[in-house]
């Protein structure tokens, strides 16, 4: 019984499905065949009808027509979809997808299109996508219609606005409707409403559209539409103010983003400099080592665990810390500890080490840039409104920098090691006489600072080229941050990185990137004159070392 019933239901379903497909297939088939018409105006009309069917296949057909992959078979005049395979074409029925064999090029005639048809196709594809199940596609389709300014879409759009439930898609649809109503509407009130809608939507594209309409109005009938023109003018002004605000926010974001990069690069330096009074010129190379660790992990993942590739970045963070930290401790044990009390010599020795490390990486990995791909979950941007969007990887780096800062603060404030480190920073001799093994603290501090630099390398691999010179690009800026912020205080580093990053990005629009950088450098050189020990100077006996 059970089996029978199931079979019956399935059978019925099958029949219905088949029947439904047949009905559409016929009309689609006819319409597709109608594309062979010579007259372009008629062809455009056929395209519109095809789009009106709302079928999935219609989308394929239209795309193929756009790409020139639709042909007329000379033998029977049937419209087919051709894919080039070597010298021949593999033919497929565009509607039901059955294979029709291979033919030579001479047996086919391309279905030609002109601009008019192309516009119709674009609008048609847009219309088909408007009803797509994917909200992203619906938004981009609405945006495409906004750009194409195709009046034919207006009734469809109006219907869709009413039925649309997704809160992200609806504004996009309203914007497109308003644009079309303003452009082609003849009713004054409708146009006024449209302007209000557009004003609410905002964005640079709307501004361009309004400007265009305004010019047309003034050319054609200045007297009649003065009210509309005034409304448009006020809308443009409002959008301009809004865009300026966005520009400011954008700048601020760029500045904060640069600041977070600087913070990451400089924070490890601040730790080592603060504790040991040593500028580690090889610090940039620790960043580079972190970036290369990320690269190696990514490549290992690609070979052994391709499914895991998207998360290789997460694994890279602790590993980069360990690898760079180990390098740091080795460096301290093998070179730096012999140079205590001679900061200038330490500077030179670490510079030498940075040259060696760079050349080492160049020998192993080659001088060219290595690509560290952005994982799926970090690509794309967070679009807040039209004309204002923040990329995810930048946001992630800002958050990461703050997390690292927090983590470092916790280590400094809440652990025994941190306590010892602070003691050595403030007074090495006294700390030593209290039983703190300052040599060991030095080594661990160097490891910590280098490890943090390694983590910075993971972040930088997302926004910069992974090359042997990666560290060099950041080292001077990091020095500036540390010198500006003052040593022995991580808040100083935060404020230093923040002000440098934001100052740089705010100067850039006025003076260009290079001059902005020069201004900032000169400003710091002057600032050092006023406060030779930085913004947050350490006070006390250890200062005059």
């Amino acid at each position: 019984m059970y089996f029978l019933r199931t079979a019956l239901i399935f059978g019925l379903l099958f029949v219905f499905a088949e029947a439904g497909q047949l009905v559409h297939a016929e009309t689609l088939q006819d319409l597709t065949q109608a594309l062979s018409v010579k007259n372009y105006t008629k062809k455009a009309a056929v395209v519109e009808k095809l789009a009106a069917t709302g079928e999935v296949q219609a989308n394929t057909i239209l795309s193929a027509l756009m790409d020139g992959a639709l042909f007329t078979r000379k033998s029977d005049g049937k419209i087919v979809l051709g894919t080039k395979i070597k010298k021949n074409y593999l033919l497929v029925d565009p509607v039901d997808g059955t294979e029709l064999g291979e033919v030579q090029k001479s047996a086919l005639k391309k279905v030609r299109i002109n601009n008019k048809v192309r516009i119709a196709i674009r609008a048609g594809i847009g219309r088909l996508e408007l009803t797509s199940a994917d909200p992203e596609k619906r938004i981009s389709a609405a945006a495409a219609i906004f750009k194409s300014e195709a009046p034919a879409m207006l009734p469809v759009l109006r219907a869709l606005v009413k039925s649309e439930k997704n809160a992200d898609v609806k504004p996009a649809l309203i914007r497109s409707v308003a644009a079309l109503e303003l452009l082609y509407g003849d009713n004054h009130d409708v146009q006024m409403f449209a302007v209000a809608d557009l004003k609410a939507a905002g964005g640079p594209e709307v501004k361009a559209l309004l400007n265009k309409v305004l010019i047309n109005l003034q050319l054609n009938e200045p007297a009649q539409n003065s009210e509309l023109a005034a409304a448009i003018r006020s809308a443009i002004a409002a959008i301009e103010t809004q865009l300026e605000t966005y520009g400011l926010i954008e700048n601020l974001f760029q500045g904060v983003s640069l600041a977070s990069v600087l913070l990451l690069a400089a924070i490890g330096l601040a730790v080592t400099f603060g504790v040991m009074g040593v500028i580690n010129m090889a610090h940039g190379e620790m960043v580079m080592i972190g970036a290369y660790t990320t690269y190696i992990i990514q490549e290992t993942c690609r070979i052994y665990a391709p499914g895991f590739l998207d998360f290789s970045l997460i694994v890279a963070i602790p590993l980069a810390f360990v690898v760079a930290g180990t390098f740091g401790i080795l460096l301290e044990r093998s070179v730096i500890r012999f140079l205590y009390g001679r900061p200038l010599e330490t500077l030179l020795a670490t510079w030498g080490i940075s040259l060696i490390l760079q050349q080492l990486v160049r020998t192993i990995f080659g001088p060219t840039n290595k690509e560290v791909s952005t994982p799926e979950w970090l690509s794309g941007a967070w679009e807040i409104t039209a004309g204002l969007s923040f990329t995810y990887n930048r946001i992630a780096i800002i958050l990461f920098a703050l997390v690292v800062l927090f983590f470092l603060m916790m280590v400094l404030k809440k652990t025994l090691f941190g306590l010892q480190m602070r003691a050595v920073t403030q007074n090495r001799m006294m700390a030593g006489s209290m039983g703190i093994r300052s040599a060991r603290v030095d080594a661990m501090t160097f490891g910590l600072g280098s490890g943090v630099a390694g983590m910075a390398g993971v972040a930088l691999s997302q926004i910069d080229n992974v090359s042997p010179n990666l560290g060099q690009a950041y080292i001077i800026d990091s020095f500036m941050v540390v010198v500006f912020g003052g040593v022995g205080n991580l808040w100083g580093t935060l404020v230093g990185a923040g002000s440098l990053g934001i100052a740089n990005k705010f100067l850039e629009p006025y003076s260009g990137a290079v001059l902005a950088k020069i201004f900032v450098l000169v400003a710091i050189i002057l600032f050092i004159q006023k406060r030779p020990r930085g913004l947050f100077a350490l006070k006390g006996r250890s200062v005059e070392g």
């Binding site: 009074g277 040593v278 500028i279 010129m281 070179v335 012999f338 140079l339 001679r342 900061p343 200038l344 010599e345 330490t346 500077l347 030179l348 020795a349 510079w351 030498g352 080490i353 940075s354 040259l355 060696i356 760079q358 050349q359 080492l360 020998t363 001077i476 020095f479 500036m480 010198v483 290079v514 001059l515 950088k517 020069i518 450098l521 000169v522 710091i524 050189i525 002057l526 050092i528 004159q529 006023k530 030779p532 020990r533 005059e544 070392g545």
Partner: protein, 391 residues
């Protein structure tokens, strides 16, 4: 040497022992070598083993310019404890001043044939010479500017830095920032110094063709004289009372200040003199290599100069000269023979010289000498003299 007492030392013993007379002996050898090179280039026929080809003369001339630059760094670092990581900036500025003169000498022989404007300005569609290019057609004016431009920058920079007591690594870092800022600035086309291509295609200097052998030899001799004069000036400064105070500042800045000396003025004076020497070195360097571009400002170059001094021996003057010549000879040789290895070696030199040779080659001699003498059972009665040599 084991048979002579240190007290009876002649200049050549001093050379081996690093005593104060050693510098004179070394400079004497250098001058003799220079005379030999001139003779070897001009008089000895080409097929002779001792003939010195002209390209070698230019190469050696380049080393001498580097040596003068190293000397200027030693003057402030070795004797006053000021580690400048931006001395390449003064060198490059001197070079640019000379480059401007040489550009103006091209006249209408440039690619565009404009009698007034250098090629890159014509290329940028500039109509007239910027005001800061005026006067550089005169060699005397250029000569003045070679000293004035680096000197003035050093004066302004040093005035601010020393007055507010920026010392140690902080000073090193901001000098590095200074040369980095200049590097970025000179990369800009709008600056009017040829952007990243810099100044090149020089034709002649005071009427002499730059490509002729005679001019190249002349420039070499000029470099020798400049180095000799630079050495004499530096050794005079360091041996004078002024120099003694510099050493006091190096060893204990606060104490010197409390003794009543205006530390910042001493520092400023020696910094400016050093910058002028560096500028002169740069101005002799440019006609010999035929180009000056912003990469001369790169911080890495300036740090490399410091290592020449460290290798040779800081605070000895002639050690700096020796170090510059040795390291650059090594660089020329190894970048040709083993290009991959050079950066390892340079990096290794930085580490080695700071760890194993803190006094440099020259500074290590007296220690050797003393050890040998002790081993041979000679009296070490004049250790005090030897100590003085280290200073």
């Amino acid at each position: 040497m084991s048979t002579s007492y240190v007290t009876e030392k002649g200049p050549f013993v001093s050379l081996l022992t690093g005593l104060p007379g050693g510098g004179k002996a070394f400079m004497g050898i250098l001058l003799a070598a220079a005379v030999f090179i001139v003779v070897g280039n001009q008089i000895i026929p080409e097929d002779n083993f001792f003939h010195v080809p002209t390209y070698m003369v230019s190469l050696l001339g380049k080393y001498l310019c580097y040596a003068l630059l190293a000397l200027s760094v030693d003057l402030i670092w070795g004797f006053c404890g000021i580690l400048s990581l931006g001395h390449g900036a003064f060198f490059a500025l001197g070079g640019y001043v000379m480059g401007m003169y040489l550009m103006r000498q091209i006249g209408d022989r440039g690619v565009y044939g404009n009698p007034e404007l250098p090629d890159f300005m014509v290329f940028l569609n500039w109509q007239e010479l910027p005001w800061y290019w005026f006067g550089f057609e005169s060699f005397a004016f250029t000569g003045l500017m070679i000293m004035l431009v680096p000197g003035l920058l050093a004066f302004i920079f040093g005035w601010f830095a020393f007055r507010s007591r920026v010392t140690g690594v902080y000073f090193s870092i901001i000098t590095q920032a200074m040369t980095y800022a200049l590097l970025l600035a000179f990369f800009r086309n709008d600056m009017g110094f040829g952007g990243n291509n810099g100044l090149t295609d020089f034709k002649e200097i005071i009427g002499f063709d730059l490509r002729s052998d005679g001019t190249r030899l002349g420039l070499f001799v000029g470099s020798v004289i400049a180095l000799a004069v630079g050495y004499l000036v530096s050794s005079f400064i360091t041996q004078s009372k002024f120099g003694r105070i510099l050493i006091a500042i190096r060893d204990a800045e606060s104490r010197t200040r409390f003794t009543g000396y205006r530390v910042e003025y001493y520092k400023l004076t020696v910094f400016v003199i050093s910058a002028v020497l560096a500028g002169i070195a740069g101005s002799l360097y440019v006609p010999q290599v035929g180009i000056i571009n912003p990469s001369e400002f790169s911080p890495a170059n300036s740090i490399e100069v410091v290592i020449w001094v460290a290798i040779g021996g800081r605070g000895t003057l002639w050690g700096a000269v020796l170090g510059a010549i040795l390291v650059n000879w090594g660089k020329s040789y190894f970048t040709g023979a083993l290009p991959e290895a050079w950066l390892y070696m340079l990096g290794g030199l930085f580490v080695f010289s700071t760890l194993a040779l803190p006094k440099g080659i020259v500074g290590t001699f007296p220690i050797f000498y003393d050890t040998i003498r002790r081993k041979l059972g000679r009296r070490a009665d004049d250790l005090s003299n030897v100590k003085e040599g280290d200073a």
